[in-house]
């Protein structure tokens, strides 16, 4: 993705195997950006989690319902340029404030509840927005031009 062409949009049916499709697009999109291999890897993991949640919790794995993914370079984020990935579903939303820390002793042995935590750890910033008529949008951001 060259610097000026700062947006790619992808829409997939809500099936887990389509996560690989998102990964291919993401990999291609990140190719020309200044991230090291580790950063690319972890961004990929964070996006996996966002899309998995949209498919599972948002669209309840209905293959006819779309998950939309947008990849762009946003100016201004963090006072500089940032990679911005947005994942949108058609679910009823949830309260991110009520999601516990998976490292709490009470949660440590739970088989789920680590997805949002992964996203927070591997990105510089994550933000949830909910449409007035439903639908969850999670925006993942990673600063550009800083390695590691």
């Amino acid at each position: 993705m060259a610097e000026q062409a700062c947006e790619v949009q992808l829409s997939i049916g809500s099936q887990f195997e389509n996560i690989e499709l998102v990964q291919s697009v993401l990999e291609e999109s990140l190719e020309s950006l200044d991230f090291d291999d580790d950063s690319r890897y972890w961004i990929g993991i964070a996006v996996r989690e966002a899309v998995a949640n949209a498919i599972k919790h948002g669209n309840l794995e209905d293959p006819r319902v779309a998950v939309a993914v947008e990849v762009r370079i946003a100016d201004g984020a963090f006072g500089g340029r940032a990679l911005e990935i947005r994942v949108r579903d058609h679910g009823t939303g949830f309260d991110p404030g009520k999601v516990g820390d998976p490292r709490d002793p009470a949660n440590l042995l739970k088989p789920a509840g680590r997805g949002i935590f992964y996203m927070k750890r591997f990105m510089d910033d994550i933000e949830y927005n909910f449409g007035p008529e439903g639908g969850t949008v999670v925006t993942l951001r990673k600063r550009l031009g800083t390695r590691g």
């Binding site: 887990f16 993991i45 996996r48 739970k110 088989p111 789920a112 997805g115």
Partner: protein, 113 residues
């Protein structure tokens, strides 16, 4: 993703390869663990040497396997943790939950120690 199971010195070794991720890899792993438990296995080693990617569902399955095996009076150990999986275990603080070994020999030896 590929999950295979084999026996060594009375220990069931589950070898995972590729992506342990939602919808595919996580399910295959779960089924393999259940298959081992059905044959009465109580000593399990999961070899993660060839795992390239583990998402939160994959990690969740590891935790679930650990709990299931423990609840049945068995023991599940991990070995050959690749650096990226190690990072995840550190970050999630699951590193303290699992019994982790360098390789299969060491993991098997731990059962007789």
């Amino acid at each position: 993703m590929k999950a295979t199971i084999r026996e060594r010195d009375g220990v069931s070794i589950i070898e995972l390869k590729g992506k342990i991720t939602i919808g595919v890899g996580d399910v295959a792993f779960r089924e393999t663990v259940h298959k081992a438990l059905e044959t009465g296995a109580k000593k399990l080693v999961v070899n993660l040497g060839e795992v390239t990617t583990i998402d939160s569902s994959g990690i969740g399955e590891l935790v679930a396997a650990f709990t299931t095996v423990s609840n049945r009076g068995g023991k599940l150990r991990l070995c050959k943790i690749p650096p990226k999986v190690d990072d995840i275990l550190q970050i999630t603080q699951l590193i303290q939950v699992f019994d982790i070994h360098d390789d299969e020999d060491e993991a098997i030896a731990a059962f007789t120690a």
